[in-house]
Amino acid sequence: MAVCVAVIAKENYPLYIRSAPTENELKFHYMVHTSLDVVDEKISAMGKALVDQRELYLGLLYPTEDYKVYGYVTNSKVKFVMVVDSSNTALRDNEIRSMFRKLHNSYTDVMCNPFYNPGDRIQSRAFDSMVTSMMIQVC
């Protein structure tokens, strides 16, 4: 269902970004980029007093006509951004949360690989396959 999945590093550069429809990829990249501002806004709003309780799942960042953008941030300030098609009304919040959880788990697995240097692009095949499964399942 996800049309685009992106993993953004703490310094706000992409570690991994993938779009389902290969055309208009640039549009999705741009959307992800602009959504980062919203993410930061949410983090700063929540983070001051509630660092410990800060929810990792940020929810809907902003909706556009065609797409909705959801965000998720880890404790190490690595952000996951997911763009879903607005026409998929059946997609519930729980499903989005579970998708982010899977993303987070896969990302953790990638991190565990000693050959992965934090800050590198994610080139793990396992991660790719997991993202593919997420992007295809809902379509």
Partner: protein, 680 residues
């Protein structure tokens, strides 16, 4: 494939086997090997005994002899065949020997003469009359070419049915229709006769029936991704057959033979496991605990694989994704690295033989008493030999050249890429000739493995630090060391350093031809050159000064050029003074003959001594008139000497030039090495 198989054969003409032949031969070989073990070992665990037997790669002589006798060839023909196939030479029946022998038997049965060339011919499958072997029924009819894919399922079905009948006589009738196209003789007598042979199989089957289907089914999908697509159709029919047969609780040993071949690269042999365990212990003394990610990373980085590949291998092998490797995970990772170094493409998923549970089951009990491992046991005797040979060849060669794959391994690579049921046998055969070369050393290998492991450690450690380039030879005449010039100069060098004796006497004969012409011209120079060149360097200066002073012969400018070129490198300067001394004494001799030997010779250092020497020649010159004949003779002699010296000097200068070039290249290299650093 077959050509490759042929090419792999070490001795004699290439062994070309058709698909059917390969299938039959491998099954025969497996049965002979297992049968031999079954006959020889205790009744309870014959396959295990077979595995434990060191000669796992060989067919036991007993069943082989029975098989050969069953071919109904005269004894002397059999002797001939045995000799030809090389079994007597190597002392046992390895796969290659066995296959060649079978082919020769087939040839003999077809009436062809028993010769090595016969194995090239297309012959029907050999016929074996009964007795304790499975061969007869199978090869009652030449089932030569029904097409590869069709044939395999037929054979598998056949074998499966036979095995089944050993256990349960129930479905015999149901199976006979399938057998009929393949076997003309009645099935029941051979069936009964085969009971003792397949006794072992039956036991295993009963133990492992249930376990088999799942792992093999799991393995099948892995087979396909490993092999090219052409293998897929080949594996499917056997799989379907197997699934059908499985319902009758048939042992899928032949299927194992086929399906295991594609897994061969991913199976860890005992020796490999020992090596991996040793490596694990070197990193982490406690075998039951973890290797941390960074330690493992450093270790695997020595393998010189690319980081993405290592990252992927880690992904595959770290099953629990905890960032640390347990011993089974470590073995799997190491094995994947070894396979990758040998050129095998990395699998999409972790092969079952490399999975943690499998390895854990196998690891603590190296004798494979573990139940899970037993499930693969019946396949072990059959597959062990080719697989072990493959493994060992793969691993030993690979480990021995951990950073660099060997050529033999590359031949395995081509074979390894064809990991399909269809190609498994051809590959096995193709590997067999290759491994037959190693079969002789097979027994030696486990012993030598301990040495190879240390060498691999060293290799890996060496790999960690790229070997520093050998230090560039200094101004020593490294190349010239072979020349006599070194010896020529060395004595002269100490001489010059010690007493500067040579300098004074002679002018360098170098510019001999032109020099002589110049000598007279520069008679005046001798006086100038009087100041003795006591210092070689001083001579250099003189050289350069005299270069301005014209008429020195070409060699003088050459010498100046040489020093100018070598100006960057000091040794050249030393060389020149070195070159001067030898010429000086000779030059001196010139003077007596030349009235005006002005030591022109272009080398100034020579000029120095020459100047001192010219004084004497003058005196000698004055007497020349009275001794012209003598002078002429001496002149001739000295010309010759001068020639020799000039020649030596020329070669020595060329050496200097080469060395200067070397140094220049070295400097440029250093510069390039330094450059990227400075760029940052």
């Amino acid at each position: 494939m077959e050509a490759a198989a042929g090419g792999g054969c070490g001795s004699g003409p290439p062994l070309l086997l058709s698909e059917g032949e390969q299938q039959c031969y491998s099954e025969l070989f497996a049965s002979c090997a297992a049968a031999g073990a079954a006959v020889g070992g205790p009744g309870s665990g014959p396959p295990e005994a077979a595995r434990a037997v060191p000669s796992a790669a060989t067919a036991a002589a007993g069943p082989v002899a029975d098989l050969f006798r069953a071919s109904q060839l005269p004894a002397e023909t059999l002797h001939q065949i045995t000799e030809l196939c090389g079994a007597k030479r190597v002392g046992y029946f390895g796969p290659t020997q066995f296959y060649i022998a079978l082919k020769l038997i087939a040839a003999a049965q077809s009436g062809l003469p028993v010769r090595i060339e016969s194995i090239k011919c297309e012959v029907p499958l050999p016929r074996f009359l009964m007795s304790k072997t499975d061969a007869e029924i199978r090869f009652g009819n030449p089932t030569e070419l029904h097409g590869t894919k069709v044939q395999i399922p037929y054979l598998i079905t056949e074998k499966n049915t036979f095995k089944r009948m050993d256990d349960e006589d129930k479905q015999q009738e149901t199976q006979s229709p399938t057998m009929s196209p393949l076997a003309s003789p009645p099935s029941s007598p051979p069936h009964y006769q085969r009971v003792p042979l397949s006794h072992a199989y039956g036991k295993l089957r009963s133990n492992t029936e249930q376990m088999h289907p799942a792992p093999y089914e799991a393995r099948q999908p892995l087979v396909q991704p490993e092999g090219p697509s052409s293998g897929a159709p080949g594996t499917k029919p056997p799989r379907h057959q197997a699934s059908l047969i499985r319902s009758f609780s048939v042992e899928r040993e032949p299927q194992d033979n086929n399906s295991n071949y594609p897994d061969e690269p991913w199976r860890i042999t005992e020796e490999q496991r020992e090596y991996y365990v040793n490596q694990f212990r070197s990193l982490q003394p406690d075998p039951s605990s973890f290797i941390s990610g960074s330690v493992a990373k450093n270790f695997f980085t020595k393998s010189k694989l690319s980081i993405p590949e290592l990252s992927y291998i880690w992904e595959l092998s770290d099953a629990d994704c905890d960032g640390a490797l347990t011993l089974p995970e470590f073995c799997a990772a190491f094995h994947l690295i070894v396979a990758r170094k040998n050129g095998y493409p990395l699998p999409e998923g972790l092969p079952p033989t490399l999975q943690t549970e499998y390895l854990q089951a196998a690891f603590p009990k190296p004798k494979r008493e573990c139940a899970l491992f037993d499930s693969y046991s019946e396949s072990m005797p059959a597959n062990q030999q080719p697989r072990d040979l493959n493994r060992m060849e793969l691993s030993v060669k690979d480990m021995a050249d951990f950073p660099v794959p060997t050529q033999d391994v590359t031949s395995d690579d081509k074979q390894g890429l064809k990991s399909t049921a269809d190609e498994a046998l051809p590959r096995d055969v193709s590997e067999d000739p290759a491994t037959s070369k190693d079969s002789n050393s097979l027994k030696a290998r486990p012993r030598s493995r301990s040495y190879s492991s240390t060498s691999i450690e060293e290799a890996m450690k060496r790999g960690e630090d790229p070997p520093t380039p050998p230090p560039r030879p200094q101004k020593t005449h490294s190349r010239a060391s072979s020349l006599d010039l070194n010896k020529v100069f060395q004595p002269s060098v100490p001489a010059t350093k010690s007493g500067l004796l040579p300098p004074p006497p002679a002018l360098p004969p170098r510019p001999c031809p032109s020099q002589i012409s110049h000598l007279r011209v520069n008679s005046k120079r001798s006086a100038q050159r009087r100041p003795p060149t006591q210092l070689p360097n001083y001579g250099d200066f003189r050289l350069q000064k005299q270069s301005e002073q014209a008429p020195e012969a070409e060699i003088h400018p050459q010498l100046n050029r040489a020093p100018s070129q070598a100006a960057e490198s000091s040794p050249a300067k030393k060389d020149i003074p070195y070159s001067q001394p030898p010429s000086k004494p000779i030059r001196r001799k010139f003077r007596p003959e030349n009235p005006a030997t002005e030591n022109q010779d272009t080398s100034t250092a020579v000029g120095g001594p020459a100047s001192a020497a010219t004084v004497k020649p003058h005196a000698a010159v004055q007497k020349q008139s009275s001794k012209q004949k003598k002078a002429i003779q001496t002149a001739i002699r000295k010309n010759k000497e001068a020639n020799a010296v000039l020649a030596r000097l020329n070669s020595e200068l060329q050496q200097q030039l080469k060395e200067v070039h070397q140094e220049r290249i070295a400097l440029e290299n250093q510069l390039e090495q330094l450059r990227p650093v400075t760029v940052l």
